[in-house]
């Protein structure tokens, strides 16, 4: 099967001379849940923004669905660390923003938007303004917005890192539930080892800046994942393995 994302020898040096990415090379299979794991400032966001077409690589090439990425694409959904909801729009209208931007017919997608909201358990808030929602609820809405136009690829940049620990675990479970129904390819950026293990099919470890992909492992935990798995030996073996590889990477 052809790959959903191909990152081929990609490097990024910012205009100021900061080399964020030395070289990244990996592929993401269709329907795969892939995590990019690395310490803060190592270039995770930079890499994700390049896949999103929001930032141009300095070297190498990125292909999504066999087409060279030259700018934002209509079949990609993005979730940022903050929910970035427009405060003057209701929850439903926020979810429908991509539909408007892409000049699709609103009536064709209103139904889907409501279904996504009810799957994310925020349908009661469809007519409310964002400031009436909690942080976790806002991020659920942001995920619905990323999925409303039915993209094949979902890019997530530390989407749960601003949430408290309990909400965070809950959100992970719900993301997996939505992912199970909609079967998107997901590239998920995180600096939490446990989160990466819990969610992913495969984890790539990025070294500190200038980043390279230092280590990768498949996570062969059964699906659907449950909270209890976090105490299982196998789960903690993956966590240990990844921690060691990160510590090895940070050695001078």
């Amino acid at each position: 099967m052809r790959d959903s994302v191909v990152v081929d020898g990609v490097g990024k040096t910012y205009a100021g001379g900061v080399e964020a990415i030395r070289e990244a090379r990996f592929r993401v299979a269709p329907g795969e849940f892939l995590s990019l794991l690395g310490p803060s400032g190592c270039g995770k966001s930079t890499l994700l923004m390049m896949i999103a077409g929001l930032l141009a690589p300095s070297r190498g090439s990125i292909r999504v669905d066999d087409a060279e990425v030259q700018g934002p694409r209509r079949d990609v959904g993005i979730v940022f660390q903050s929910p970035v909801l427009l405060p003057w729009r209701t929850v439903l209208d926020n979810v429908l923003l991509p539909v408007e931007m892409l000049r699709l017919r609103r009536t064709d997608y209103a139904r889907r938007a409501r279904d996504l909201l009810s799957m994310a358990k925020v349908d009661d808030f469809a007519a409310k303004l964002p400031h009436e929602l909690s942080g976790g609820m806002k991020q659920r809405v942001a995920i619905c917005r990323a999925l409303v136009h039915d993209p094949a690829l979902l890019l997530m940049d530390e989407p749960f890192s601003a949430l408290d620990a309990m909400t965070r675990d809950q959100m992970g479970l719900e993301l997996l539930r939505i992912w199970d129904v909609h079967k998107k390819t997901v590239v998920f950026v995180t600096h939490s080892i446990r989160e990466a293990v819990f969610l992913s099919d495969r984890v790539l470890v990025m070294s500190p800046r200038p980043a390279t992909i230092g280590f990768e492992t498949d996570v062969k935990l059964p699906r659907p994942r449950t909270m209890d798995m976090q105490e299982a030996d196998e789960f903690n073996r993956y966590v240990g393995l990844l921690r060691h590889s990160i510590e090895a990477g940070t050695r001078p």
Partner: protein
């Protein structure tokens, strides 16, 4: 809520008027110097036709000058935001032009634009324009990068980013500018009327001054203030409708106790 927030200022105003009345009566202050508030109120009532006649031209020039500065200010702010040439070339000039006290330019405007409405309108525009430009430009450019990145990620065009994100984001600040602007437009028109006019509240004040008719002068000032207050109220009311998403903080009860 709203009724209660007006209660205290009204009570204080009333108390001040009563004190004024009492002091003037007790010290037998000459009416020429400081008339009693009740006398001013009486003049406001008995000479209402005269005051209203002069109020109308002042009113419509304030409104016109304000609307002109609103449209002009927003257009200039958009140009400042999107054109580097305008930003680099004209923005410093606009700022420097604000250092010239516009009130001092009023007589010059009469020389340039004549004794008619035009010179008064232009002075109001010139004074009221600046807060709109500054606030709008600040609002349009202070959008968080994440919002623009999000919109671009969904293939938003520059125009879409302007209409769907930058402009609504700027609305609270634009209204902040409008509230300053409407009070400045009042000043602009009245000062221009002081300099040269055959009608208008500014003219009435100068005329009453010449006749040593202090009660009429104060009645005219009171009428002008009430008009200014009403205009401000209209803008503030519109703001509540348009900027509906601004979270109005609920003040906890109990104060600082």
């Amino acid at each position: 809520m709203r009724g209660r927030s007006l209660l205290w200022p009204l009570a204080v105003t009333l108390a001040a008027l009563v004190a004024w009345e009492a002091v003037v009566a007790a010290l037998r202050v000459k009416t020429l110097l400081l008339p009693r508030p009740s006398l001013v109120a009486g003049v406001l009532w008995s000479r209402a036709p005269l005051i209203l006649e002069h109020m109308w031209p002042t009113f419509y020039q304030i409104v016109l000058g304000f609307l002109l500065s609103l449209v002009g200010g927003v257009v200039v702010a958009v140009l400042l935001t999107y054109s580097e040439i305008v930003r680099k070339g004209f923005y410093p000039l606009i700022v420097v032009s604000q250092i010239v006290p516009k009130v001092a330019v009023a007589p010059l405007f009469v020389v340039w634009f004549g004794l008619g409405d035009l010179s008064r309108l232009l002075l109001a525009f010139l004074i009221a324009f600046f807060p709109i430009v500054i606030n709008t430009a600040t609002g349009l450019t202070s959008v968080d990068d994440d919002f623009v990145r999000m919109a671009r990620g969904y293939m938003g065009t520059r125009r879409q980013i302007f209409t769907k994100i930058r402009l609504p984001h700027a609305m609270p600040l634009i209204f902040g500018g409008m509230k300053i602007s409407i009070t400045l437009a009042v000043i602009g028109v009245v000062v221009a009327e002081f300099v040269a006019a055959q009608r208008g509240i500014g003219y009435l004040i100068v005329m009453a001054n010449g006749l040593l008719d202090t009660p009429l002068m104060m009645a005219a000032i009171a009428a002008l203030s009430l008009m200014g207050l009403a205009l401000y109220g209209v803008v503030a009311g519109l703001e509540r409708l348009v900027v509906y998403w601004q979270v109005r903080t609920e003040t906890p009860r109990g104060g600082f106790a």
